[in-house]
Amino acid sequence: MTTEDFTRDELMEVSAARALAGARTCFVGIGLPSTAANLARATVNPGLVLIYESGTIGSKPTRLPLSIGDGELAETADAVVPVPEMFNYWLQGGRIDVGFLGAAQVDRFANINTTVVDRGPGKPQGRLPGAGGAPEIASNCGEVLMVLRHSTRGFVRKLDFVTTLGHGSGPGDRERLGMRGAGPVAVITDLGVLRPDPATAELVLSALHPGVTVEQVRAATGWDLKCADTVGVTEPPTAAELAALRALKSAGREGR
């Protein structure tokens, strides 16, 4: 295997894992965030404490959990707590450094919709799963990371519903609403990484994955995406990162 053999999804997953370097605790959403957080434990951050909303603190699964309540999450945890305690003492208690979320729709201020999407005139709104833990994860963690695939369906000019507040309508909104933490600090996609502009809180292109152009990212974004002063290029995944990611995934498939 050479480091050239990787997919855009793998680039996204590896980039997402790298974003967890240095974090102590991570509240992990299921799906891509869980892949990233588990990969971080296998690579850049072996001591990362994974916290799942099912009540597990310090889970150390050896394969990717399919659901947020897989038995292995509990069996390998430092502690298992009731769900109300998780949300009240641990999340609301301000104990968690990073909240890692997925999303169906994101707008330029990193607000999130996971509730309903408009599907055009005469059609009923499309129903999404709903909020889950996201609104309070976004308002109580030290910072928020997001990971989702890049498309104009996902990166929209205007959300059909605000499930979870990111930066609201710009600087000062979080403070005004009494939300703690820095809010979304990076949105990692299969094309690159968006970060909020420090002055405007608007998501701007901060890094491109190798081989991706600015035009590709702009074409996949529903608003007029701006670039940061300098747009970096993601380091390609290392052989070790790819091996760890693929091992996690194949162990996950075997476990099902």
Binding site: E75, V80, N88, Q92, G126, T163
Partner: protein
């Protein structure tokens, strides 16, 4: 005081048409067998409460028994959509579905208030979210000490709560362990409580993470080994992830769904495995 009785009789006595019914279990210990008994008995016009509706409520919704859903995340965990839930919300099939939609933190605290017999609970939640605009069970209170405004959620007190646990003793005391989610709160918040268990044991041995429901807080205990399938009971069964994945194409199609329910749930003696 819990009586140990058949699932048929317990469901018939404790789950009534029009009830607000909570069947809790956070991925783990979901009381599927009891839900299937509800489908067989055709107990309808239910308001179902559950943080994560899961496939279990997809089945009840598709079976046409549900008027309203009180929830915070309605997906097939790790797989995708709950198609029967979506079809009911988007197209009103087989009947329209009213929603009372929350965040997880809000739902958990609604049960906490219910178990505490308080009319509401306080949290830092719903800030900047459109969720609060769509329900009458979220409001706000002002802290009398600091003046800070906080979210208030209305207590959730189901008419009846159903949970699945690993063990009961002969007196009807119940113990569950592993991920225990909001089951204690959902049970203590309810007017009536039905528990299905993997087995009856002579004596409950205290377990790490064990949650005990004394016999005097529940109404019926039913022995239903495997009663959480395709969810699981730690120490007894493992989660049938393949079933959750196989559910996706079944639930996508109304006819396939109805056929599945007829063959696996409604048919006399059918056991959905």
């Amino acid at each position: 005081m819990a009586e140990i009785r058949s699932l048929h009789d317990a469901v018939a006595d404790l789950v009534h048409e029009g009830d607000t019914l909570a069947m809790e279990g956070f991925t783990h210990l979901i009381p599927y067998a009891a839900a299937h008994e509800v489908i067989r008995q055709g107990t309808t016009d239910l308001s179902l409460a559950r943080m994560t509706p899961d496939v279990v409520y997809d089945q009840l919704i598709g079976a046409g028994l549900v008027r309203k859903l009180i929830f915070s995340w309605g997906g097939n965990p790790g797989v995708g959509s709950l198609h029967r839930f979506r079809d009911a919300v988007e197209n009103g099939w087989p009947r329209p579905l009213e929603l009372d939609e929350h965040s997880h933190a809000g739902m958990a605290n609604r049960y906490v208030a219910g178990a505490s017999r308080l009319p509401f609970a306080v949290l830092r939640g719903y800030r900047g979210s459109d969720l609060a605009t769509r329900t009458d069970t979220v409001s706000s209170v002002v802290c009398p000490f600091t003046g800070e405004e906080l979210a208030a959620v209305a207590a959730l007190n189901p008419d009846v709560t159903v949970v699945h646990a690993q063990q009961a003793d002969r007196a009807g005391n119940v113990q569950m362990w592993g991920l225990t989610g909001v089951q204690k709160e959902a049970a203590l918040a309810a007017g009536r409580v039905l528990v299905t268990v993997e087995e009856i044991v002579d004596e409950l041995t205290p377990r790490p993470g064990g949650v005990v429901l004394p016999t005097w807080v529940t109404d019926a205990v039913c022995v239903v080994p495997g009663g959480a399938h395709p969810s699981y009971a730690a120490g007894y069964t493992v989660r049938d992830n393949a079933f959750y994945q196989a559910w996706d194409p079944i639930a996508r199609d109304r006819d396939a769904f109805t056929r599945w329910i007829d063959e696996n749930v409604r048919t006399e003696g059918a056991v959905a495995r």
